[in-house]
């Protein structure tokens, strides 16, 4: 993705738009809903909200025109240039113009207004063109056989969130304040020797290291390391999470924050979540968990809370009797508060601040003490 020179962006999150005139190709309500939907796809992945105005000067003025239309960028008749738009700012900036010499449609034949509006409104929000052929911001028009398949690409989400950050956690949360407040903690440096993690989990042969609003994903196969916003994969998941673990037999990663947890399969948060952690069998005194590991061989999941741990039987789907027990008794050498943990190659890896303990569950001893970010080949 790329942004305009100087990275112009809106200095507020509540934006207004106005459909100044209509194309004769479509019923007015079809134009209204195409524009609404095109704004909604950007709204879903940012803190931005859009409200409609029917008169006066809105931030984003949307209009249809042919040939010369007052901005020194005349349209060129049917085909070739379909539309153009201007980056955020006053007056003509932020506006989107559509060439009415095109045949605008709401299906896949002709030129689909929603698809072109999704692209042009990306410009109105500050995105420039992308060289990623899958991106909405790729400059050439690309129709879809099935419009229901339409999605913002990862590139589009990363681009727009580089300008505005992820959606605020929930509609009743205070809107992201103006630019004076930081969008959230700075991006963590992967080779910072003091780096610690909120949660660590395997996922289909990769390891995910969660920190604040971001996560690193490391592939055991290719050893590649990527860095992403949590919200760019799972917009509904919280940041600053407490714990995460994978139950490979269910192809599901469970994410914990406070007294809630979510089930995630690949890129999809499963229906019916979040749930209360007390549905797993924790007593009411437990308000949150610190870390968790699921042992795929023994089909047991270990939940770590301060200096104690519980064991959950994945087959019977219930917490085992006789718990909690002292961590230090059953995991000799693991005697500090645990931030995160995961299981790999038959070892348990416990993270505490910037240190990481490799624990052999069969020998029942710590076999290595490492830096937490030892997996990043710093």
């Amino acid at each position: 993705f790329s942004t305009f020179l100087g990275t112009p962006k809106w200095r507020k999150t509540q934006l207004t738009y106005r459909i100044v005139n209509y194309t004769p190709d479509l019923p007015r309500d079809a134009v209204d809903s195409a524009i609404e939907r095109a704004l909604q796809i950007w709204e879903e992945v940012t803190p931005l909200t859009f409200s409609r105005m029917d008169e006066g000067e809105a931030d984003i003025m949307i209009s249809f025109a042919v040939r010369e239309h007052g901005d020194f960028s005349p349209f060129d008749g049917p085909g070739k240039v379909l539309a153009h738009a201007y980056p955020p700012g006053q007056g003509i900036y932020g506006d989107a113009h559509f060439d009415d010499d095109e045949q605008w449609t709401k299906e896949t034949a002709g030129t689909n207004l929603f698809l072109v509006a999704a692209h042009e409104l990306g410009h109105s929000l500050g995105l420039f063109h992308s060289a990623n052929t899958e991106a909405v911001m790729y400059p050439l028009y690309k129709s879809f056989t099935d419009l229901a398949q339409f999605r913002l690409s990862q590139d589009d989400v990363d681009g727009i969130q580089s300008l505005y950050g992820p959606p605020s956690a929930s509609p009743d949360d205070p809107l992201v304040p103006t630019e004076s407040a930081p969008l959230g903690p700075e991006t963590p440096a992967m080779c910072d020797p003091a780096l610690s993690f909120d949660a660590v989990s395997t996922l289909r042969g990769e390891v995910l290291f969660f920190k604040d609003r971001h996560f690193w994903r490391k592939s055991f196969r290719t050893h590649e390391l990527e860095f992403h916003l949590i919200s760019s994969f799972w917009p509904s998941l919280p940041s600053d999470m407490d714990a995460a673990y994978e139950v490979t037999s269910r192809d599901t990663v469970f994410i914990f924050k406070g007294n809630q947890f979510w089930g995630v399969r690949g890129g999809e948060v499963q229906a019916g979540y979040p749930r209360s952690i007390h549905t797993l069998g924790f007593p009411p005194t437990v308000k949150k968990i610190d870390a968790a590991i699921s042992d795929k061989d023994k089909k047991k999941t270990y939940f770590f809370v301060e200096d104690k741990y519980w064991r959950f039987d994945e087959k019977r789907q219930s917490m085992e009797p006789g718990f909690p027990r002292q961590i230090a008794e059953d995991f000799p050498g693991v005697d500090t508060k645990i931030d995160a943990a995961f299981e790999a190659f038959g070892f348990f890896y416990f993270f505490s601040g910037s240190s990481q303990l490799e624990f052999d569950p069969n020998a029942k001893k710590v076999t290595h003490i490492l830096k937490s970010n030892s997996w990043f080949n710093c």
Binding site: K80, V81, L82, V116, H129, L140
Partner: protein
Amino acid sequence: AYPLDGAARGEDTSMDLVQQYLENYYNLPKDAKQFVRRKDSGPVVKKIREMQKFLGLEVTGKLDSNTLKVISKPRCGVPDVGH
């Protein structure tokens, strides 16, 4: 005999099309010289390469059929490189 100038005229049209495209979307200066001594250098060839790379085409620096097809496709009127 096939009128040679016809071929030349065809090539001219394509070259004009590309020149226009590069001026509109790739910051090619309006008076860029189309032909230079070495066929594989000069501002227009460089810009053709830049355009081919950005749009995900094979970077040949030449007006191959793929490139000509792409520049006639409907698109957004905003440039592809910083204006």
